[in-house]
Symmetry: C2
Subunit: 423 residues, 2 copies
């Protein structure tokens, strides 16, 4: 099964919006065993849209069109599909009612052009709208080939990413699977890791990767995701959900056996949600002392809803005198392991937190205290009475100012995570 993607919209060609839809579709089609071998962006021009669509249907079993379903005269996807199908558009009264209701329920007058979104090519099936005003379409097309007429299908979805994704999962994927005659269920499991590069992981998992490649199912993929860590994803297919999950379990166990506590979470876990959960389960609150990261660690932890149960707050001691005066750090060089430990201890006291986490370092462009850009000292201090309550680390991080700061955030959170796991 091959399903190509046609993204419609002049704004995509002009770089006003980056087309992330086709990448997302490519990834999700591949996960379900469907090839996407060519993906095209075209502007709001009926001749060029139909030209591409006809050509793509000559090569692929299916085409997903994203965008061009809105209410204005620039929205030409419906017209293009009707043209290629060789049929007329008609007003679908059910869809029109939904659109009218959407406006009246908000006490707004509906501009008449909104009914363009209820126009449907003869023979097409509606994918009912649940979020926006435009429904999606499933359009069977017969094309002539040297071997005689063949059946193809065109799917149309809105260009708004969350509407597109929802319709893909709800309607397009099941339809594609039915047409391909393959009734596979796909299960995937993402192990979130930190502490090693992609090539490092690759080397350590070498023998497992070889075995997986021989088996062919499940498959393994690495996805480097910056300060979200490095994802190791297993994807397997089986006749039903239980056997798909069962297929992944032994492989996950073997990978975990190799990677150990480098795996910080699974699927939608994040480093910050994992750290907050570990603290919450121990009944401990957290205070942060940040210098080089300037508040980014705290900003990220407080991005998690419910963080307030655990987070007391932070002191961003950017100026040295704030380290000395507020956090009671000993006067002297401030990019040192000792300074990091004193910052963590100091912030515990100032904020009345159980656990302190501190970062000091050099983001660049210039040196500080004789330390090169990329230098990070991080320290964790646990509540008094805990054994081995101080943990610190000295890291050298790559990248420019921005990247160094981002890697500092996840590295320090990972130091805290590992220390919490031990207690």
């Amino acid at each position: 099964m091959r399903c190509d993607v046609l993204a419609v919209g002049t704004e995509l060609l002009l770089g006003q919006i980056v087309d992330t839809n086709s990448s997302w579709l490519g990834e999700n089609l591949a996960m379900h065993g469907v090839d996407s071998l060519s993906q095209v962006k075209v502007g709001d021009n009926i001749g060029r849209i139909t030209g591409h669509l006809r050509r793509m249907l000559g090569e692929a079993d299916a085409v997903i069109m994203c965008g061009g379903l809105g209410p204005t005269h620039d929205d030409l996807t419906r017209e293009a599909i009707a043209d290629v199908m060789g049929v007329e558009l008609h007003l679908d009264e059910d869809v029109a009612d939904v659109i009218r209701h959407l406006f009246s329920s908000r006490n707004r007058t509906m501009p008449e052009n909104n009914l363009r979104q209820a126009m449907v090519p003869e023979g097409a099936t509606i994918i009912p709208q649940t979020r926006g005003t435009a429904p999606g379409l499933i359009c069977p097309v017969t094309i002539e080939t040297d071997a005689g007429p063949v059946e193809r299908v065109v799917y149309a979805v809105p260009g708004v990413p969350h509407e597109m994704r929802e319709m893909f999962e709800r309607a397009i994927l099941p339809d594609l699977q039915q047409r391909s005659g393959e009734q596979w269920t796909i299960a995937s499991r993402t192990l979130r890791t930190w502490g090693e590069s992609e090539s490092g992981l690759n080397e350590r998992l070498d023998h497992i990767i070889d075995e997986l490649e021989e088996e062919g199912n499940p498959t393994l993929a690495f996805l480097a995701s910056g300060w979200e860590g490095l994802k190791v994803r297993l994807t397997g297919r089986a006749p039903d959900e239980d056997s798909a999950s069962a297929l992944l379990a032994p492989w996950e166990e073997r990978i975990r056996g190799v990677l150990g506590d480098q795996v910080f979470g699974v699927d939608s876990d994040t480093m910050e949600s994992v750290v907050l959960d570990l603290l919450r389960s121990r009944g401990w609150t957290l205070g942060l002392a940040e210098s080089v990261t300037g508040g980014l660690v705290s900003g990220r932890l407080t991005g998690v809803a419910g963080a307030s149960e655990v987070m007391k707050g932070a002191v961003v001691s950017y100026a040295s005198e704030v380290k000395f005066g507020v956090l009671d750090v000993t006067e002297g060089p401030v990019v040192t392991e000792e300074a990091a430990i004193e910052m963590a201890e100091g912030v515990r006291k100032v904020l009345g937190a159980d656990v302190g986490l501190a970062l000091t370092g050099v983001a660049g462009p210039s040196e500080q205290d004789g330390m090169r850009p990329g230098t990070l000292f991080a320290a964790v201090v646990l509540p008094e009475g805990e054994p081995d309550r101080v943990r610190s680390a000295h890291l050298r991080l790559p990248g420019d100012r921005e990247m160094m700061r981002q890697l500092s955030v996840i590295s320090a959170l990972d130091l805290l995570r590992k220390r919490l796991l031990e207690s």
Copy 2:
């Protein structure tokens, strides 16, 4: 002149990398008066690459190919171009020497496959490499049409964005301009604004937009950029640089006349760099008290190199007891205008800063102190002795937790900016 874009790489189709190159090229081609009417992603398959390239050359005067110039057997751009040109590849000794030198200068052994990057189609011109190991290519192609043979050109550049952009500006754009016979210089001026929606700006600039559309040169574009603000960009073309700039000046003045201090900067200015500059020029230091934003304002300000001259630091008073105990806020509800003012005054004293900026609000998902998600109180307190030294604001911001927090950051910085402009 029409120049389409062909992005090569299976990783683009699988969503492992999002193709941002073609959007960037589309934007930059448009700025220089070149149409880009179709942009295609294709995998590492020689038949499909040449198929797309041939078809695209039938429609466009030029095609820029991004990616597929590396050293491995999957890198097929050179082969595809030679095939379409109907010529052989040969080893360019100068390019080979540069590659060999690159490895020897780092004391590394060069894997032999790196010399694939020195293979050049007969008749192509090299775009010398300055950053990576792969040079770019300028390849004239003659294609047959119904009206006889016509001349086209294919440009090949690496897929690494910064290498691609550098080669585009240095070699491709001048070559395209020479071929089109148009010797225009393009000047652009971006006004960075905050405080009004795109449709609001559109309405207020209505008469200027009408006049610009009638003139046709310069052109005006709006680019909504989240917490980077809303950009208003003038782009004009003229025979030389001085007259291009002179063309923009009166329009910029008129737009500034309408928008006033909503314009916070130009071109590469950011809200945080502008605020830091205003503080620096007054010789004032800054301390932040953040609650709802949890450190994001501080994190963003300290992202600017040299921020340490101005930034003392921040107290992230996420827990109410930190507001009361550390910042000396009066006990009671903390999502109020009074609390924001007390936080700003308190953080000035705690950090020894001249100016205090504070934010308190509700990011959601649930209410706090009877206030709805989206509520923001921000306050600025200037040094003692300044007239009218306290300024505060109550805002209602849209969006989910993440968006509300981001909009809070730029809104609070803008409050500080406007207050500083008055003093």
